[in-house]
Symmetry: none
Subunit: 308 residues, 2 copies
Amino acid sequence: MVATMYDLIIVGAGPAGLTAGIYAARYGLETLVLEQSAVPGQISVANVIENYPGFISTSGKELMSRFREHALANGIAIKKADVKKVEDVAGKKIVLTHDEELYALAVIVATGANPKLLGVPGERKLLGKGVSYCATCDAAFFADQEVLVIGGGESAVTDALILSGIASKVYVAHRRDSLRACKVLQQRAFMKDNIEFIWDSVVEEIIGEEAVEKVIMKNVKTGEMTEKNVEGVFIYVGINPNTGIVELEKNDNGFIITNEKMETSVKGIYAAGDCRVSPLWQVVTAVADGAVAAISVQEYVTDLKLMR
Amino acid sequence: MVATMYDLIIVGAGPAGLTAGIYAARYGLETLVLEQSAVPGQISVANVIENYPGFISTSGKELMSRFREHALANGIAIKKADVKKVEDVAGKKIVLTHDEELYALAVIVATGANPKLLGVPGERKLLGKGVSYCATCDAAFFADQEVLVIGGGESAVTDALILSGIASKVYVAHRRDSLRACKVLQQRAFMKDNIEFIWDSVVEEIIGEEAVEKVIMKNVKTGEMTEKNVEGVFIYVGINPNTGIVELEKNDNGFIITNEKMETSVKGIYAAGDCRVSPLWQVVTAVADGAVAAISVQEYVTDLKLMR
């Protein structure tokens, strides 16, 4: 039996991966998209998306279901697989999954990124027992309870707003005295009666036995320590790219370095979307990355086939 | 009367301009989008678009009407105006239209580009009915059909190669007896079994009722006229970026040079979409450019206001 040699394997089925798939299929490349099941993508847990042009207001789940349908309509194969490793062996690419080896002429890494841990005592122990990184997933468990959001960026404020519709009170602890989130989001948050900002403050510990009971906070300007009784802690302190499966040139945070053609440090391996260094991580930038990666693969694979 | 000083004026209401508008509005910037009425954008004349994720099949007109609605829903102003000039005067930006002067702290140039017409009978009539200027956009519509590519430059040969993976036969008609495209591209094209060059030949007419049926060609050396039955005609005789209104660093073809933040050679003036040098010109890349330009403007304008 001869193993299938795909033209292209795309690792990841988020906005970048599925768009790369749509373009690759339309270039006539034999393409397989691998959909990781272990970790849900950031997009699929996004409750409300209002900045993907064409959809005034949608959800990540709805948008991804549309993208998936679009990709399937173009005839690409999508397969569930947990990818362990992507390797280049004498120019051929080997994609090792949990149960098989797959082969391709080119690979696009579109594995996305996942939230960073805060790294304080109690965080891991109370994960799923009051500690969360996703209001969409968990807000419903905190109806009429008090919660604390940690962070001051888009995600923190977006999710504070989601929580404010469900929880009785939402504290937002931020290490600085102003937010990074866009003005529209800030204004909305400031106008919410049940959102209260706690400036210049970091959480030092999350305390509870079977569930979160309280947090210990420190004011970074005065050094004063305080306790706050809350039942939920939502953490937004950054994201980790899912790039451990492949050895490529990366920045200090692990994001893959590419040029404007989405080429990485290894010929025939491309990166697209949240897993690469980019001035902005959004659905719109991910879809652009995916398309550009696909045309780069088209050129690369055409060359490879002619050299045979 | 004091003239309005906008935070941002966006010149152009295509995918890049409208997306920049959506993002700018959500960042709380006072934004005006100027919609040129003189020249319809490339997108608005695209009959069928199947590669903007989320819309399996739509038209340029339909998609742009959705984008417009989305921009308006975010509260941005859109105004019809033929822009004559964009100038930087002591850091302030002046946008001169056919009937007024407008002022802004920042400008995004999103004026697009238009393919040069071949200028033969049948070309306009059969646009979108077999006549195309972009294989990435339209090649998939010609699976197992015969097509003719017109031109001998990079775009012609690149797109002939894309077409060769999808169409059954690709003729390339060029007015000279050698190609302008780089050697690598030439070699690839010469090695493809289903690409055939027709040298020293120009197309005099494109014939068809509801769709392209054939072309009439003339050999410029012998004067001999021939007919060729094809179902698609892809024309690459140049692209004109609409960048005459502004003095910025541009490449030899007039496309604006930017960095990855969409910054141009003039501080506070940004470029996005088809009018800038880019590895790919598509709706997906235009929306990404627009979003990135908006975040760059947001940072620039915030800084400007803090310095007051």
